[in-house]
Symmetry: C2
Subunit: 172 residues, 2 copies
DNA sequence: ACACTTGTGTCCAATTATTTGACACTTTAG
DNA sequence: CTAAAGTGTCAAATAATTGGACACAAGTGT
């Protein structure tokens, strides 16, 4: 059980139960919330490894705006916890917007249990990856240098370091 | 015309023409390819600011595998050029997979001209953003430290720096 | 309750990096 | 062609990083 706590947020009790059963075997703890109102405090208290968030809350409002708002709010406050969205209304635009707003993944109802587990595991694994500082630096330097067509003076300027330092960094 | 060259790849000549007309007013140059075979060399030669890639090439094969393959190939070779995907088959799974494979955005046919232009501009703008080195470092340090629950020894270890250095970095 | 391990805050001296300024030489653009 | 901008390289001054050390706090298992 290397995968810790999961927080599931959905306004449908039946789905909450079904998901809980589905995930119980893989995750140490499955916490459920039937509304996102208490999400921020619950997350702060429980520090879940991932969040599964339903996009349709207020009955009759299925545009997903509701869920999108909560996604943004949670992601802004806890940018390191992966959030997987789940929705009954398979809408490409919605999915794209969600991912661009920081969602780790996007699954549609009815879901496949194994797929849901895999997606959550993947999200947690990816969120747990840590890059050494010098590697991060090297990659970023390379990218910026690229964007400046190799102009070291400008690249150094944009990076906020001196030209000679950049020169040394790329030499090694 | 701050937005440079665009490369459009689609096997349908009619769509190629339509897109070309649509984008001509906004971008300096619109290059078209009717098959992705020559994409890699064309990109290397023309260095476009963005790429608009259709997902369905071989006639009758509409699963998008084709386009996904090319997306990966192009993105691996030119990770700094944003790739916007376009497809007639609005499939959420496909869209999600595309974004997770490095696509900058995903639009469906029939497209809205203004939206297409906006999406491409956004992709180019976002790809052009450059973060100073020290800001990148500070953010990453904070994130790793977070993931280690404040354990500085482990965080320093994972970051590949000494404990004292990390101590200094967070102090300032 | 006890020893044991792990981590913290802090210092030092030795080693490395970074910066600033300079100089002769290419490239580039008007 | 000339002026402006960039490159490669050096040196000396300054700042950052490291490894080692030490007393002390917190948590582990027995």
């Amino acid at each position: 059980m290397k995968y810790g706590t999961i927080l599931v947020i959905d306004d449908n009790p039946a789905i909450l139960t079904a998901v809980k059963i589905c995930l119980a075997g893989t995750f140490e703890r499955v916490i459920t919330l039937n509304s996102p109102e208490k999400a921020l405090v619950t997350i702060a208290q429980e520090n879940p490894a991932a969040i599964l968030l339903d996009m349709n809350f207020s009955l009759g409002v299925n545009s997903g705006q509701e869920g999108m708002m909560w996604l943004s709010a949670i992601h802004r406050k806890f940018p390191d916890i992966p959030i997987v969205l789940i929705t009954a209304y398979a809408d490409v635009k919605l999915a794209v917007r969600a991912l661009k707003n920081g969602a780790a993944d996007f699954v549609t109802k009815p879901w496949d249990n194994d797929e849901l587990i895999r997606v959550l595991k993947d999200a947690i694994d990816k969120a747990g990856e840590i890059i050494p500082l010098d590697q991060l630096e090297t990659e970023h330097v390379r990218k910026v240098l690229n964007k400046c067509d190799g102009n070291m003076k400008r690249a150094a300027d944009l990076l906020g370091i001196s030209r000679q330092t950049l020169y040394n960094k790329v030499k090694n």
